[in-house]
Symmetry: D2
Subunit: 409 residues, 4 copies
C-alpha cells in the first residue's frame, strides 16, 4: 500500500492538475547507464585505497550492474571501456548481460594511457604531430567500434585527453586540425545507426591546453563530422562558475546534445557523487532538458545518460545507489515545474514569480514519487538499506577477495 | 642617433637572422583604436572619483586621442559609442578628425542602459520577450550604422548585456533565438564593406545567465548571420583560468576572429590596463595572432584592435599611454619568436625546447625596438615623460575645468 | 487549523524523536536584520533601473521594514548606513521604529565613496598613506558609533573597500599596518557592550589587492584589536569554489564569528537573493552554525544576521520576502539533521551514511514548518501573495512617486 | 670575458646607482633545494609516462642533484621524503652528499598514502577520528625527525592531505582540533634549531574539504604551536585568482613565512615548471620577499626555498634546469626595482609611476646577470645546452635502464 506521504503528495499534485501516473511512468522509464570502471575504488595521483571485493573481470562487472538494476530499477545498461573490457567470449558476455537484463551503452576508447600498444601516447593520440601515432589511435577507435557492434552497442564516446602542459609545446591550430582529420577517419567507420559522443574538458591530464576544451570546440568538430556526431557534457568538465544548464539549453537549441556524464564537483573534475554538492544545479539542468524536449528543440530519446564518478572513499556500489537516487530525484522535481506558468512569468518579466515556480518544484519532497516508481517497477523499498542489511560488500569480499582490483583508474 | 641598447639588440637579432628593419616597420604599422569612453574616469557600482579635465564633448575626445596619436604613434582611430557620441555636425567632426589624423573605427551601440528611449531595457533588448522592445533595439543599432556610415566607419560592435539574474527569469533558448532574429535584422542593414563584431561575456551586468556568454555562442550566431559577422574577444570577458590564446587560435583556425578589446584582469572584467597583470598571456596571444596570420589561417589585416579599459585610479591618458606601450612590447616580443625552430620542437615533441624559444623572445628587452619605431614614425622619445613634463593634465583641467565629466560609465 | 502537510510532517518528525514545538519556536525566534540600503533598486556600473515607490527618507525605510516584519515575522531590525541614514530627529526616529517593533542592528560606516567630506577616499581611507585621510576616516567611524549609541545599536560593521588596482600602487604591508592602527583608534571608542564586525572581500571595487581580502586577514586584525572584534562573513565575498561552510566552522572553533551578510552568487559578489543559486550551500552553512553552537564552540546568540543583497531586476520588497523565506527554510532543514547519528557516521568513517543524513534533512519539505511558525507568530499565510494581492508596490508608487530613489548604491 | 650584453647592462645599472657586484653576489648566494621526488617522471590519475634513466635509489637521486648543482650553481640541497628515501646507511649517504656538496633541506613526511603501515590513512591521518591512527601518523612524523637529525636536516615539512570528499563525512571542527593536537605532539619532539613548515592546500586529494585549506588555517595552527612553526606557501595551492604575493606580504608582516614550494599553474595544483605560466606573478612575489626583508618584517635567511613540480612530459632534469633559471631571473629582476622611488609613488598616490617602476625592472633582460653570476660561481655557460650536448639523459638511461622508476608519485 502506498505510504501516506505518497498519498498526500499525490492529492496535492492532482489538485494542481498534474497527472501522478504520468510522472511515475516517466520516472520509471528514465534509465542511466553505469560505466564498467565505476565499480572499483578510484584514486588520485597521490594514491588509491582499496575497497575489497572489486569485480575481477567483465562478468563480475556485469553482475554488479545487474545487482544495481535489480535493486534500483534505474539502470539497465553498461558502458564498456576498451582495452579494459575486451570480451574474451563475446557470445558468453552477451548472454550474461541478457540474463541480467543489461544492455550495452556507448563504448569508450582509451588513447590517454599506454597499455602495451606499439607507440606511446605521451605526446598525444588523435592530435599527435606524428601521423603514425594518429593512425594507431584511429585504428584503436575503429577496433572499439567493432567490439561494440558485436555486443549491440550503438555509440562511441571519445574523450580526447590530448593537449599540452606548456605554452609552445603544441601547435594549437594544427592539433585541432589533426584531431578533426582523425575523427573524420573514425567517423567513416561509424555504423549509420550509431552516435559519436564527443566529450570536452578544460584541463587534466594536460595543464596548459586541451585540444577539445569546451562545448564550442566539440560542437565545431561535430558539425564538420556530420549528423551522427554530437557533444557530450560531463558535469565536472567546466571552468569555475560555468553555467552548465545554459550549455545544455544551447546545445539542445541546435540539436547537438549527445548526452551526459553525471557526477558532481566543488573544485574541478572532482568526480564526486551526482547531487552531493550542487543539487540545485542538477535540478536546473533537468529543467532545461525537459523544456528543450517538450518545446521540440531536441528529442528526449536522442540523449544518452551515464554516471561517471570516482569513488575514493565510498563503496562504489553504495555510491552508485546514491547517485541513481539523486538523479531520479532531480528529474522528478523538474517534472513538477509548472512550465506554462513559468512561460507566463518569462513573457511578463516576472522574475520573482519565475523563481517561485522553480523553488516550489525544488522544495517539494519527491522521494515518495521516486520510491513508488521503483516499487511499481519491481525494485526494493530502499536499495541502500537492502545493500547494507544483506551485507553485500562482505559477500563480494568473501567471493572475490580483499585485494581484488577492478581495471580502471 | 639610435641608443647603444638599440644597436646591441639589433646586432644580436641580425646575427640570429632577423631583419630589424622588418620588425620596426611591423611595429610602426600596428595601430590600436581608442574608444571615446576611455578618456574619462571610470568607476564601479560603489562610486566614481573624478580626474579633472575630462573631455566635455566629442571634439575634445578627438583632441585627446589626437594627442595620444601624436605622442605614441600607436593609435590612429577612435571608436565611437552611441548615444554618447552622436555628432551634432558630422562634417565638422570629420574635419576635426582628419586634422588630427584620426579615423573612425568600429561603432558601438548601447542597449544596456536607459537614456530616454521609449521602452526600458531593464529586462533585455535584442533578446527581450517583448517584440516591440526588440524592434527598438534593432532600430537603435541601425541608427548607429547610419551614423557610422556618415563618418566613414566600417564596423559595428555589438556587446549584448542581455541575460538574467535568476534561474527561471529567462527562457535561455528563446532568448538566444530572439537574439539571432534581432541580429539578423541588423545584419541586413550592414553595408557590404562593414564587419559585425559580436562580443561575448560570461557575466555582468547580469549575474545568472548572459545571452552570449562565450566564444562558442558568439560563433554560432555569427555563422548563422553570414561572412561579415565575426567574434570579438575582450580579454576580461572570460571565466577564471580560461586559456584565451587558445580561443584566439581556434577562432583564427575558422577565420572567425573579428578583433580585440585589450585590457587586463585578475578577477573578472576588471578592465585594468593591458599588460599590467598578465603580460605573458598577452605575449602568448600575440604569438597565436602572428602564427595564425603567417600560416594563412586568417589575414592579419582582417583583425581589429581596440583598447577597452576603465580608469578608476589613474589618469586615463597616462593609462592609455601605458597600455599602448604594453601592447607594442608584447607584439614586438612575439615578432622575435623563432617560429621555424618552434615548429621543429612541436613536431619532435621537444617541450623543453619549445618553452626555451618562447621564453627567449619574452625575456628579450624589446623597449629599444619599440622606441626606435616610435621615433622613426615621428613620436616622442617617452610619451609618459612628455605628458608629465608638459603638465598636460593640468592644462586640460585649466581648459575644461576640475569637474568636467566625460560621457561613459 | 494546521494543514494536512504540517500534520503529516509533524507526525513523521515526532516518530523520529524530534520535538516539533521546539523546532517551531527556534524558527520563530530566528530574526534577520534588513539593511536600509536594500529597499531601493540596486544597479551595476553599467546602469540602474528604477523600481518606483522607493523610500525617500529614513522614516519610509523603517515603514518598509515594518511591513516586512508584519508579514514575515522574520525580521525585527534595521541596519543603518551612515551618511545615507543620518537621522535628523533621533527621538522621532526611535519612536517610529518602536511603533513598528523595529530595533537598530549594527551600524555601517562608509569610507568607500566621496560624499562631500573634505578629503577624497580615492586612494583609500583607513589604509591611506596620508595620515590626515586616515584620521578623517577614523573620525567618521567614531561619528557612526555616536549615532548608533543614540539609537540603541550595539554594533559597528566595517567594510573596508581599500586596496589597489595595480601591482606597486600600494605597499601591502604598510596598508595593513595603517589599517590596524586606524581600527585600533576606532576600537578605543567602541562601547563595552558593542561588537566590531570586520568584513572581508577579495576584490571589487579594487581589482588587484584588497587590504582585508580573506577571513585570515580579518581574523588577524580582530585578534590584535580585542575580544569585541570578530569576523563578518558575507556569502558573496569569496574566491571561486571557496568552501564557505568550512570558514564558518573554523571561525566558530575560535569564537571569532561576528555574523553574516546573506546573499547568493554564481560568479562573484553578485548580491543575488539568498538561496536562489546555491541552496544546498546555505543549508550546509546552517548545519555548521547549529553544530558549532550545540557543541559549545560559539554561542548562537553572539552571532548577527543580516541580508545584504542588491535588487537590479526585482522589486526589493518581494526579493526580501523571498530571501527571508529561503533563510528560514535552510535553517529549518538544518534543524532536522540527526546530529547524533551524523557523529556516529563521522566516527566510523561512514561517508555514505553521513551523506544520507544530510540529504534526508535537505530533501524534506519544511515549508509547512516555516509557515506554521509564521502563523503562530502572527504573520500572514503567504507574505508574497499578500504583497501582490494587496498591490503594495502600486500603493507605494502612488504615495512616493514613480521616480523616488532610495539612497544607496 | 663578460659578454657585451652584460657590459652594457652593467653600465646602465651602475648609471642608475645600482651596484652590479652586489646584485651578482645576491644572485649567487640564492640557493633552492630540490626534492628527491622531482627526479623521476610524474603522472596524473590517468597515467604516467616513463622518462628512462630515473634514479633507482637515494644515491642516484643525490647524484642527479649533484649534477644540477654543478651545472647551475643554484641548488645545494636535497629535500628528502620518508618513507621513499629512508637511508639504509646514514653515514654513506652523508658522505655521498658531502662529496657532491649537497646538504639536507627540510624533511617531508607522508601520511597521504598507504605503504605497508599498520593502519590505513584512507579516512585521514593527523585528523583521523580514530586516535590510534592519529598516533601512528604522529609517530611517523617523529621518525622523520629522527632520520632528519641523523642527516643534519633542520626542518620538517608537513603537508596534510587530510580532509573529506563529501559534506558530512568529517566534523570540520573536530578534524581541526585533532590536527592541532597531533601537530602539538610532533612539535614537542622538534629540535630547538628546527623549523616546522606547515603547508596548506585548498583541495586534492580531497574534494570537498581539506583540513588545512588556506594560509589562515595554517597560521592559526602555527601560532598555537609556537615560534618554530611557520606557514609554507606552495604556489599551486590556491583557489582561482588568489593574490599570492599579498599572502606572502601578509605572512612576512607577521614573521610567519616558513618558505616556498616553487611551481606554476594555470588551473589548479598543476605542478608545472616555475615561471612557465605566470612569470610576472613570480616577479611580484620576489618583490614582496625583498621588500619584506629589507624593511625588517622578516629576515631573508629565515625563509626556505624549494622546487616542487611534477614532470609529466619533460625530462625532469631539464625541467629543473629551466625552473632554477626562471627563479633566478625573477629574483634578479626584483633586485632591480628602485624601491625608494616606489615608496615615493606609493606615498603620493602615483599609481602610474609605481607601475612604471615595476615594469622597468621586469622588462629588463637580466639573463646576462644570471649567467655572469653562474659563471663566477663555477657553473657552466648554459646548463641546458651542456646537458643536451653531453647527452646526459642517454648516459643515465644506459646506466640505469630504460624502465627504472624513481619513488614518488
Amino acid at each position: 500500500m502506498p505510504s501516506s506521504e505518497f498519498q498526500l503528495l499525490s492529492s496535492i499534485l492532482e489538485n494542481k492538475g498534474k497527472s501522478v501516473s504520468d510522472i511515475l511512468s516517466k520516472i520509471s522509464a528514465f534509465q542511466i547507464a553505469v560505466p564498467s570502471w565505476a565499480l572499483g575504488a578510484g584514486g588520485t595521483r597521490f594514491g588509491r585505497f582499496s575497497i575489497g571485493g572489486e569485480p575481477r573481470n567483465l562478468e563480475e562487472k556485469l553482475e554488479d550492474i545487474g545487482l544495481l538494476a535489480k535493486l534500483t530499477k534505474k539502470t539497465d545498461a553498461v558502458s564498456l571501456h576498451i582495452p579494459w573490457d575486451i570480451p574474451e567470449d563475446v557470445e558468453a558476455i552477451k548472454q550474461k548481460a541478457q540474463s541480467l537484463e543489461i544492455s550495452f551503452d556507448a563504448m569508450n576508447s582509451n588513447t590517454f594511457q599506454d597499455y602495451g600498444q606499439d607507440l606511446t601516447y605521451k605526446m598525444g593520440s588523435l592530435s599527435n604531430s606524428d601521423s603514425t601515432i594518429r593512425q594507431q589511435a584511429v585504428d584503436h577507435n575503429k577496433q572499439v567500434i567493432e567490439i561494440g557492434k558485436s555486443l549491440g552497442s550503438k555509440g562511441l564516446t571519445v574523450w580526447l585527453a590530448d593537449g599540452s602542459n606548456f605554452p609552445g609545446q603544441a601547435s594549437i591550430r594544427k592539433a585541432l586540425q589533426w584531431t578533426y582529420e582523425s575523427l573524420q577517419a573514425i567517423y567513416k567507420d561509424l555504423p549509420s545507426d550509431w552516435k559519436l559522443l564527443l566529450e570536452y574538458k578544460p584541463y587534466e591530464p594536460n595543464f596548459y591546453h586541451t585540444v577539445i576544451p569546451d562545448w564550442g570546440t566539440s560542437s565545431f568538430l561535430c558539425k564538420q563530422l556530420g549528423d551522427q556526431a554530437k557533444v557530450l557534457v560531463d558535469l565536472g568538465h567546466h571552468l569555475p562558475n560555468t553555467n552548465i544548464e545554459q550549455i545544455v539549453a544551447t546545445l539542445m537549441h541546435q540539436d547537438m546534445l549527445a548526452g551526459f556524464h553525471f557526477n558532481d564537483s566543488k573544485y574541478g573534475d572532482d568526480d564526486l557523487s551526482t547531487g552531493s554538492i550542487k543539487p540545485y544545479q542538477l535540478f536546473l539542468i533537468f529543467c532545461e532538458l525537459i523544456g528543450g524536449a517538450e518545446d521540440g528543440a531536441q528529442a528526449w530519446e536522442s540523449i544518452s545518460w551515464m554516471i561517471d564518478a570516482s569513488h575514493n572513499t565510498k563503496d562504489p556500489l553504495e555510491d552508485l545507489i546514491q547517485a541513481l537516487e539523486a538523479i531520479a530525484i532531480a528529474y522528478a522535481k523538474a517534472l513538477l515545474v509548472d512550465r506554462e506558468k513559468l512561460t507566463q512569468c518569462q513573457m511578463s518579466g516576472d522574475t520573482v514569480g519565475a523563481q517561485e515556480i522553480l523553488q516550489d518544484a525544488f522544495l517539494t519532497d519527491v522521494r515518495p514519487l521516486v520510491k513508488e516508481a521503483r516499487l511499481q517497477s519491481g525494485g526494493v523499498e530502499s536499495p541502500l538499506d537492502y545493500y547494507r542489511t544483506e551485507k553485500i560488500r562482505e559477500k563480494l569480499i568473501s567471493q572475490r577477495g580483499k585485494n581484488s582490483q577492478a581495471t580502471g583508474l
